[in-house]
C-alpha cells in the first residue's frame, strides 16, 4: 500500500512537472534548430539564431528597454509598498483598510483595460501640455508600477504579519528611535519579503504584454511586444533564442535571490 502510494505520487509529480516544463523545453530545443521553419525532426543544430537575436529586429534594444522599465517599476513599487505596508499593518481604521484596497485594486481590473485607460489619459495630457509622453520610458515605467504595487503590498503584508508588534516595542523600550527600529529590526525581519516582492515585480513587469501594448512607440518597445511584432512576420527560431535569453535572465535573478533568502519560505 505504502509502495503503491509512493509510486502514484512519483507519477503524478512527474506528470505535473512535464506539464509545466515541456513548453519551456521545446522553446529551448527549438532555439538550436538549423531549419528556419520549425518542424520535427530538425534538419540539424546551430547557434546562428542567438547571433540573429542580437542583430535582427530590435531585440537587443527592446531587451534593454524592458530591463529599464522593469527596474523603474520594481524600484518605485517597493518605494511605495514598503513604507505603506509598514505604516498600515497595525492601523485598524477604515481609511487604512481603504488604502490597502486601493493599492491592491489594479489586480482585479483587466490589465488591458488599465493599459487603454492610461493611453487615453496620456494622449489627453499630451494634447493639453504638448509634452511627448506616450511611448516614453518613464510613462511605461510608471504604468507598470500599477502592477508591481499590488504584488508588493500582498507579499509584504503577508510577511509583516509574522513580525510581532511587541518586537518593535521591545526595540523602542531599549532606546531605539523609530528610525533605528525600522532599520535595525523591522526591515531586517521582512528582508526576504522585500527581495521576493522586488523579484516578483521585476518578473511581472518584464513579461508584461497587455499593459505595454498601448504605451510602446517605435524605438521604445518592450521585449515581449518586440517578440509579438516579429512573430507577425516571421516564425523562425530567433524568437526562441530571444525567449531563452529572457528565461535565463529571470532564472539567474531567482537563483541569486535564493542565495540570500529562502524564497520557498516567502512565496
Amino acid at each position: 500500500m505504502d509502495r503503491l502510494n509512493k509510486t502514484l505520487m512519483a507519477v503524478w509529480t512527474a506528470a505535473g512537472f512535464a506539464y509545466l516544463l515541456l513548453p519551456l523545453i521545446f522553446v529551448v530545443w527549438m532555439s538550436f534548430f538549423s531549419n528556419e521553419i520549425p518542424y520535427l525532426p530538425p534538419q540539424g543544430y546551430t547557434l546562428d539564431w542567438y547571433a540573429a537575436a542580437f542583430t535582427r529586429g530590435r531585440f537587443a534594444e527592446s531587451f534593454m528597454f524592458s530591463l529599464y522599465v522593469a527596474l523603474i517599476a520594481t524600484a518605485l513599487g517597493l518605494a511605495v509598498s514598503v513604507p505603506a505596508t509598514i505604516a498600515l499593518r497595525h492601523a485598524r481604521s477604515r481609511l487604512a483598510g481603504s488604502i490597502v484596497q486601493l493599492l491592491t485594486a489594479p489586480l482585479i481590473v483587466p490589465t488591458i483595460v488599465i493599459g487603454a485607460g492610461i493611453y487615453v489619459t496620456l494622449v489627453m495630457f499630451e494634447i493639453a501640455t504638448s509634452w511627448p509622453v506616450v511611448g516614453s520610458l518613464w510613462a511605461l515605467g510608471l504604468a507598470h508600477v500599477l502592477m508591481t504595487i499590488p504584488w508588493c503590498v500582498r507579499l509584504l503584508l503577508a510577511n509583516l504579519a509574522s513580525v510581532d508588534g511587541s518586537i518593535e516595542e521591545a526595540a523602542a523600550s531599549l532606546g531605539a528611535s523609530p528610525l533605528a527600529t525600522l532599520f535595525k529590526v523591522t526591515l531586517p525581519l521582512i528582508w526576504s519579503g522585500v527581495v521576493a516582492a522586488g523579484l516578483f515585480s521585476f518578473v511581472v513587469s518584464f513579461g508584461n504584454i497587455e499593459l505595454s501594448l498601448f504605451l510602446v512607440a517605435p524605438g521604445s518597445t518592450t521585449l515581449p511586444i518586440a517578440i509579438l511584432q516579429y512573430l507577425e512576420w516571421k516564425l523562425d527560431p530567433t524568437v526562441a533564442a530571444v525567449s531563452v535569453a529572457q528565461i535565463a535572465l529571470i532564472a539567474a535573478g531567482l537563483l541569486i535571490a535564493d542565495r540570500y533568502v529562502k524564497l520557498t519560505r516567502v512565496v
Binding site: 511587541s166 523602542a172 523600550s173 531605539a176
Partner: protein, 347 residues
C-alpha cells in the same frame, strides 16, 4: 532604580474607561504587582508607564522626572514581554547588546555589560546561539538579561511566566525574585495569577474594571481585603451574604452568626477562608451540621464542598496527611475557627 509616582492616571477609549484615576507611589527597590482579571486595566497601566499608550489624563514620574509625554525610547525602562519579543534575527549576545549599542557606548563596554547581564541569568555560554535554537525558558532569560543590561530605572514585567510550564514557572519565579532583590531594582509586574502575585510582590495593586480596588502587602490583601471583589479574587473564599450585624458578629441571610475579626457595621458579606474551616467528629456548641457534597483530591489538601443544614454552601480544604478521607453524602460537623471570618463591603 528610582521612585515611581503615578497621579490621577486615566485612559479612556471613547466612553469606555480602561483605567480610572489611578494613584500609586512606588518606593525605590520595591516590587509591585498589578493583579486583576483580564480587562481590568492592569496591562493598559503598564503600557502607559512604558510609553506605548498615551494617557488621557494624569502624570507618570520616575525619579522625579515627569515622563508622561516622553516617548518610550527615551524612558530608560527595561521591559520583559509576555511573548519575550526576542529579536529573531539577532544572536543571544546581539539581543542583549541591542540596548547598549543604541546608547552609543564603546564596544568594550557593550561587551562587558552584555556579558555581565547574560552571566546573571546563567546564559553566558550560549552567547552565539540564535533565538530559534533556545527553549522557552532560555528565551525568557534572554529577555530578562536584555532588559537588565541597559541598567533601567524601572523593570516592567508583562505576565512573564504565563507562557512557561508549571515546573519552569516556579524556577523562573524564584529567579526573578532573586534578581530583583540582588539588584534592588524597582519592579512592576502584571499578572492574573494570584499565587505569583502573593509570592513576588512587596505590595499588590488589585484592579477591577479600570479601578484600583486595594493597594497593600500580600498579607493585607489576603487577610484584610478592602471589599468583596478583592476577597473573592484573591484565594479561594467562602462568601456569606448577610442581612444584619451586632458589633463584631455578622448575621448571614439564613441566620448564621459569625464572629468576625472586624466591626461589621455597613458590611454586606462576610468571608471565611477554606483553611479556617475544620471538619470535626465531636459535636460542640459552636459546630454546625453539614453534608459533604463533593470531594476533590489535590495532593496536599482535599477540597471538600459542604452543604450546611442552614442552606449555605462552604468550601473547606482539610489536609490529607493522616486525616480521615471524607466521601460524598457523609454527614459531618463543621467548626469555623473563632474570629477568622472577615466582614467586607460590596465595593
Amino acid at each position: 532604580m528610582a521612585r515611581l509616582q503615578i497621579q490621577g492616571l486615566s485612559k479612556a477609549y471613547g466612553v469606555f474607561s480602561a483605567v480610572e484615576s489611578m494613584d500609586l507611589d512606588v518606593q525605590e527597590g520595591e516590587f509591585i504587582v498589578f493583579l486583576g482579571p483580564s480587562g481590568c486595566g492592569k496591562t493598559t497601566t503598564l503600557r502607559m508607564i512604558a510609553g506605548f499608550i498615551e494617557p488621557t489624563a494624569g502624570v507618570i514620574a520616575i525619579g522625579g522626572r515627569n515622563l508622561t509625554t516622553i516617548p518610550p525610547y527615551r524612558r530608560n525602562l527595561g521591559i520583559v514581554f509576555q511573548n519575550y519579543a526576542i529579536f529573531p534575527h539577532l544572536s543571544v549576545f546581539d539581543n542583549v547588546a541591542f540596548g547598549l549599542r543604541r546608547r552609543k557606548l564603546p564596544s568594550a563596554t557593550v561587551e562587558a555589560k552584555a556579558m555581565a547581564a547574560l552571566a546573571r541569568v546563567k546564559l553566558d555560554h550560549l552567547r552565539e546561539r540564535m533565538p530559534k535554537q533556545l527553549s522557552g525558558g532560555q528565551q525568557q532569560r534572554v529577555a530578562i538579561a536584555r532588559a537588565l543590561a541597559i541598567e533601567p530605572d524601572l523593570l516592567l514585567l508583562d505576565e512573564p511566566l504565563s507562557n512557561l510550564d508549571a515546573k519552569l514557572r516556579h524556577d523562573v519565579r524564584d529567579e526573578i525574585h532573586r534578581l530583583q532583590r540582588d539588584l534592588g531594582i524597582t519592579t512592576i509586574m502584571v499578572t492574573h495569577d494570584q499565587e505569583e502575585a502573593l509570592s513576588l510582590g512587596d505590595r499588590l495593586v488589585v484592579m477591577n474594571k479600570g479601578k484600583v480596588q486595594q493597594i497593600g502587602t500580600p498579607t493585607e490583601i489576603y487577610e484584610t481585603p478592602a471589599n468583596l471583589f478583592v476577597a473573592d479574587f484573591i484565594g479561594r473564599t467562602n462568601v456569606l451574604h448577610g442581612s444584619g450585624s451586632e458589633g463584631t458578629t455578622f448575621i448571614t441571610e439564613s441566620g448564621l452568626r459569625l464572629s468576625c475579626r472586624n466591626l461589621t457595621a455597613g458590611c454586606s458579606a462576610a468571608i471565611v477562608r477554606p483553611e479556617s474551616i475544620q471538619l470535626v467528629d465531636v459535636v460542640s456548641a459552636t459546630s454546625l451540621p453539614a453534608t459533604v457534597e463533593q470531594v476533590t483530591y489535590l495532593g496536599p489538601v482535599c477540597e471538600v464542598r459542604l452543604q450546611l443544614q442552614s442552606g449555605e454552601t462552604l468550601l473547606a480544604t482539610p489536609g490529607t496527611g493522616g486525616a480521615p478521607r471524607r466521601c460524598k453524602g457523609e454527614q459531618v460537623h463543621v467548626e469555623i475557627a473563632p474570629d477568622t471570618a472577615y466582614a467586607v463591603t460590596d465595593s
